[in-house]
């Protein structure tokens, strides 16, 4: 099997003059099983690989990629990247990462036992999940899809500026989408389990969640419009925190697109709120030893007791702002250049359990799902509006299900209006971990 550094070295060997060259070489192997009504509906296995090449020449950057390790195509990508650089404008801050003396953390993300799992066991587990969902409740009328998927990923980054690092990881997941019906209307739910090793997967939990998420919505009604206290469950909070984190990219700040530019050191939210970007924590989904420029991952405080602590930086934003990279360069794979971005935001938990938090609310809504965040949030203006569903909270207890309404606020207000965080830090497959969050005074729009 081709060593990734061999491919990287092929790129670097083509360097001309005093140009800087970076090779980002990635390979992943994926398996996916989808079952339907006890039978395999789809089974796919695949290897995806490719090289992204950046060239910086006279302060101009160019990029090209190819989805193969074939030497001719790899060399062509370098030539094309160099040609592209000639058409970019001069940028005094352009340049590749250089070794900064920070050693990568020891994060063990590779489980070789995952590679040994036979396809039959993967199929059996997906079938087992489908069965678990169907048998959990008589009101479950179907399982729309039930997937097992696993992946092994390898990455090497090498540059003419002295970066030469690699990393690898495994992951697997089990996801089921359920349908429930009470004769009046259908409702949907989902359940999942994640891990780095096959044995991490908890089929019982995933099955229970999928059944419960669908059945608890049966009989849901549309609420009246009101301003109320809302409780976000960890699944929803992780998505909202991901949006907040998006505004804390130094790239957005230097380009005048962040709400929080110029506000470092100011109180931007409740003192209850502390957020840290921590890809060195192996429990986060975005954990990694290195970032996508080959620098060591590290902890970056974002919001400390409500005070804005700082932003995440790539090499470029570090240079441009006179600071340094925080090891937060992130790419969408070998087909794109790095930006500065959070990938593993961890909120500091509060003291109370979710049940205790709900017990303290006389009238509110527990939000268990949001949809349309991509269309209803403007991270530049801060406007935030999303479709939601969940359960009414009345007299400190959850009551009837609610659907077809929106919750709206602004990112700025939301951080101030947070009234409590739960003690239930939850690791989710997103750029942030989840936690129960209580927010006062949120606009609910319904009837």
């Amino acid at each position: 099997m081709t060593d990734l550094f061999e491919v990287a070295d092929l790129v670097l060997a083509g360097t001309e003059g005093d140009e800087q060259v970076e090779a980002y070489v990635a390979r992943s192997r994926d398996a996916q099983v989808r079952v339907y009504e006890g039978e395999v509906e789809q089974l796919s296995t695949a290897e995806t690989l490719g090289v992204g090449v950046r060239v910086v020449r006279d302060g101009r950057q160019g990029f090209a990629y190819c989805g193969t390790f074939e030497p001719g195509a790899v060399r062509e990508a370098l030539v094309e990247a160099r040609d592209n650089a000639a058409f970019a404008e001069h940028d005094e801050w352009a340049g590749l990462a250089e070794p900064d003396g920070v050693e990568p953390p020891e994060v063990d993300l590779w489980r070789s036992d995952l590679l040994e799992v036979p396809t039959e066991r993967k199929v059996a587990l997906a079938v087992e999940l489908e069965h678990a969902i169907r048998s959990a409740d008589p009101r479950i009328t179907g399982v729309e899809s039930c997937d097992y998927a696993d992946a092994t990923g390898e990455l090497a980054v090498a540059t003419t500026t002295g970066i030469r690092r690699n990393t690898r990881s495994t992951n697997c997941q089990l996801v089921g989408y359920s349908l429930a019906d009470d004769g009046e209307a259908s409702q949907t739910g989902f359940g999942f389990s994640l891990g780095r090793s096959f044995d991490d997967l908890d089929v019982e939990q995933a099955g229970r969640d999928a059944a419960e998420r669908a059945t608890r919505m049966l009989g849901a009604v549309k609420p009246q419009s009101a301003k109320l206290t809302v409780v976000l469950d960890p699944w929803v909070t992780a998505q909202v925190v991901g949006i907040v984190a998006g505004t804390l990219s130094a790239e957005e700040v230097v380009k005048g697109r962040s709400l929080f530019a110029e506000r470092v050191g100011e109180q931007v939210g409740t003192p209850l709120l502390t957020l840290v970007e921590d890809p060195t924590d192996g429990r986060t989904w975005g954990a990694s030893e290195i970032d996508d420029e080959g620098l060591a991952s590290r902890r970056v405080p974002l919001i400390d007791a409500g005070v804005l602590a700082g932003f995440v930086h790539s090499t470029w934003t570090g240079r441009r702002t006179g600071t340094a990279s925080t090891g937060s360069a992130v790419r969408g794979g070998f087909k794109s250049t790095p930006g500065a971005s959070c990938r593993a935001v961890v909120p500091t938990p509060g003291q109370a359990s979710p049940d205790d938090l709900i017990a303290g609310i006389d009238e509110g809504v527990l939000i268990q799902e949001v949809f349309g965040l991509h269309s209803g949030v403007n991270p530049v203006s801060g406007d935030l509006s999303t479709g939601a569903q969940g359960l009414r909270i009345r007299g400190g207890a959850v009551a009837e299900p609610l659907r077809e309404f929106t919750i709206a606020s602004t990112i700025q207000r939301l951080l101030i209006d947070i009234a409590a965080l739960g003690n239930d830090l939850t690791w989710l497959p997103m750029s942030a971990a989840g936690i129960t969050l209580v927010i006062d005074d949120v606009a609910i729009s319904g009837q």
């Binding site: 509906e41 296995t45 995806t48 989805g67 970019a88 404008e89 419009s225 005048g256 087909k335 729009s445």
Partner: protein, 463 residues
Amino acid sequence: MLDEAVIQRTLGAALRTGGEFAEVFVEDKRSSSAMLDDGRVEELSSGHDRGAGIRVVVGDTTGFAHTADLSEGGLRSAAEAAAAAARSGGGGVKTVELTRRETTPLGPIAVMPQTVGKGKKVELLRRADEAARAEGGSIKQVRARYGDSRRQILVANSDGLLTGDDQVRTLFVVSTVAFGDTGMQTGYESVGRTIGFELFEKHEVEDIARESARRAITKLDARPAPSGTLPVVIGPGGGGVLFHEACGHGLEKDLIDKGASVFKGRMGEQVASPLVTLVDDGTMVEEWGAYAIDDEGSPAQRNVLIQDGVLTDYMWDFLRSRKDGRPQSGNGRRQSYQHLPMVRMTNTYMVGGKSEPDDIIASTDHGVYVSSLGGGQVNTATGDFVFGMTEAYLIENGEITEPIREGNLIGNGPKVLTDIDAVGHDFAMGHPGMCGKDGQGVPVGDGVPTLRVKALTIGGTAA
């Protein structure tokens, strides 16, 4: 793209374990883009993807594998992996006779983007930056992006089909940020067509830039959006995503078959106001969701889904139409050779009506006018959907008045379809879109005339 004999042998290898159907999908895609941000041409990017996806069907099971190695050995390995994944008891040697079917191109590509100098593409970005900033001092940031792609595909299958297509798309997008007393607001405008660089003979980048800047500046004066349920008038071209979400996804046969659509079992019924005729049409020359053949080799078609409010058709891919013993509808699409095809929309639009657009607004006492919608999302099983308003105004006493801030609208598909009570004669296609389903994105188009929905819930904060 590949030798016919190699394809035949690959299909043979794919059928060795008893597959009933095998398919080789080969793709060679070259793309290029150029980006200007923060006043500077930041980066040009070029990409090349090339590979094959092979699927084997046995009963209701599909095995799939893909490879970037297009040598006969690479294809054979992928074929064997797909066959193993779909394995059944059978076996033996099957031979496939391929019959090449020529594809009729949708329209000629006048200027292949790959033949245009990079300097010319960069020049478009500079012109857009200048035009956007000239709209007013409040424009503080401009990002302009040029993109083109050429996607050549070949589809061969064990039914003997051998065909291909050459798909060229060109896109230009301008995003702006305006700064005022109330903070920052954003504007967005894009033009994308399934044609080459001649796009810029038909559209001036200055117009795209100015429209983007105008949107951002307009919103500086915007009030918080209302909350609660109001009549909503949607402007021509700006609201096609309404139908994409409200019922388009729910008419995809794969979701119907799994009981995950509120439109299941409703064929022939009145599912919408008699004013509604909805079409999905992959043959619309130049439109963003157009192509000559789909990614299973079936020619694109114009399919009427809803006629005068009556549900007349679903959308299908190869597997679903085979199961139901009916012809394909040209809706089998995939993001790339690394993905399995599934039922997807193309250009989905609502046919124009008879009303005067001005009369529709004048007869609305108190409501919201949405001239541009952003993306959306739907739960097809419940019919609940949302979509974002990126440019919207209040309607007060029959007149469009103040702009309102961004937010989502939420509604229920079947209810909204029956609540459409006015349709204008001013049909227009909308913006190029990217539709996501089950992790795959494909380019789609949409369009609507001015129309009114009696009641939609506005996701704002104002009482």
